[in-house]
């Protein structure tokens, strides 16, 4: 009986949330919610602190690593050519693993398989720098992450996670980022949660951070237990968010307050 009530409530809630999904024309990047100063910081490459990481990443791209003693550039050549548009298509389906992996996951797979090096830790300076450098090559290009039909079940899982209420505050992502993005929370705009500029420089963090860091911070904010870095749930959420932002331009490295 109780289960039946729960299911009925869940169904009603999912129905209600779906009804308020953001129409494509109303989608807005977090950029459009920012003040003029922060926008100016993102717009100018010599003022954007995210560019410091991009420079780091450019240096790492040509540095030999691992027991294979190979640099990224030895297989992929010039990132400005070979990595153009790549980040806009991530998370992507990895056949060997039978699941989607995000850009950070791909970089670490390349490290273990091809460079025979130890994978970088999540949120390490190196991993952020390389992913920022790769993603910056897609700046201005439209997000196109969910082309692969094999991704469909994972997009669906991510969507379900996005809708699912959890934590002590009993909130789902959709309760803020679909239903209340035009309002404020403690004086700050809620925003739509569009993942257009990751990894991005967040002034609050005083550093670059990945989309997974942002998701974990949000999950902690609703007082739920955050998924571990690299967990399938976070990648599925990333994938759903990228499919939700389909067609929006990549801004990496973005700046956010």
């Amino acid at each position: 009986m109780r289960i039946a009530v729960c299911i009925a409530l869940l169904a009603a809630m999912v129905g209600a949330a779906l009804a308020t999904e953001i129409p494509p024309a109303a989608r807005r990047s977090g950029y459009s919610f920012m003040g003029a100063d922060t926008k100016a910081m993102q717009d100018e490459d010599t003022a954007n602190p995210g560019m410091l990481s991009v420079l780091d990443g450019e240096a790492l791209w040509t540095r030999k690593a691992g027991s294979a003693d190979k640099a990224c550039a030895e297989c992929h050549n010039d990132a400005r050519v070979s990595m153009k548009g790549v980040a806009a298509r991530y998370p992507a389906f990895e056949k060997m693993l039978g699941k989607p992996i995000d850009l950070e996951g791909r970089i670490n797979l390349c490290r273990t398989n091809h460079q025979q090096a130890t994978p970088f830790a999540y949120e390490s300076r190196e991993l952020l720098a390389l992913s920022a450098y790769v993603a910056q090559q897609s700046r201005g290009m439209p997000i196109a992450a969910d082309d692969d039909p094999e991704l469909a079940p994972f997009v669906e899982k991510g969507h379900a996670l996005f809708m699912q209420r959890q934590g002590q505050l009993n909130l789902g992502c959709a309760n803020c980022h679909d239903d209340n993005w035009d309002r404020k929370l403690a004086g700050s705009p809620i925003t739509q949660g569009q993942p257009t500029g990751y990894p991005l420089y967040r002034l609050e963090w005083q550093s670059l951070g990945s989309l997974q860091r942002r998701l974990r911070a949000c999950i902690t904010g609703i007082r739920a237990q955050a998924y571990d870095y690299g967990s399938p749930e976070l990648v599925e959420l990333e994938l759903y968010l990228m499919s939700r932002a389909r067609g929006m331009p990549v801004e990496t490295p973005a700046v956010r307050p």
Partner: protein
Amino acid sequence: MPSALINVPKKARRGDVIEIKTLMSHIMETGYRHTASGDVVARDIITSFTCRFNGQEVFRADLFPAIAANPFITFFTTATESGKFEFEWIGDKGFSETAQASITVE
């Protein structure tokens, strides 16, 4: 791997007021934070920034723990002659970085 981003106009007319923008990669650890086990995280900040033009100092700033990571310092100067700007950042733990930029004054 500290790196700097410098924005100096490549060309200016004599007497123009020009804006110079500098961004230096640095964590700016305040020295006021503690680890989970209660140890103080040692202060690690940039303490001084200097800009010289053709050897002569045109701008200097002292930095303190309240300044955010990756300090972005901008200032104005007057273009008098062609030459070279030299930037220097000095900080805790022996931090010392330099950068240069040239300008042509017509």
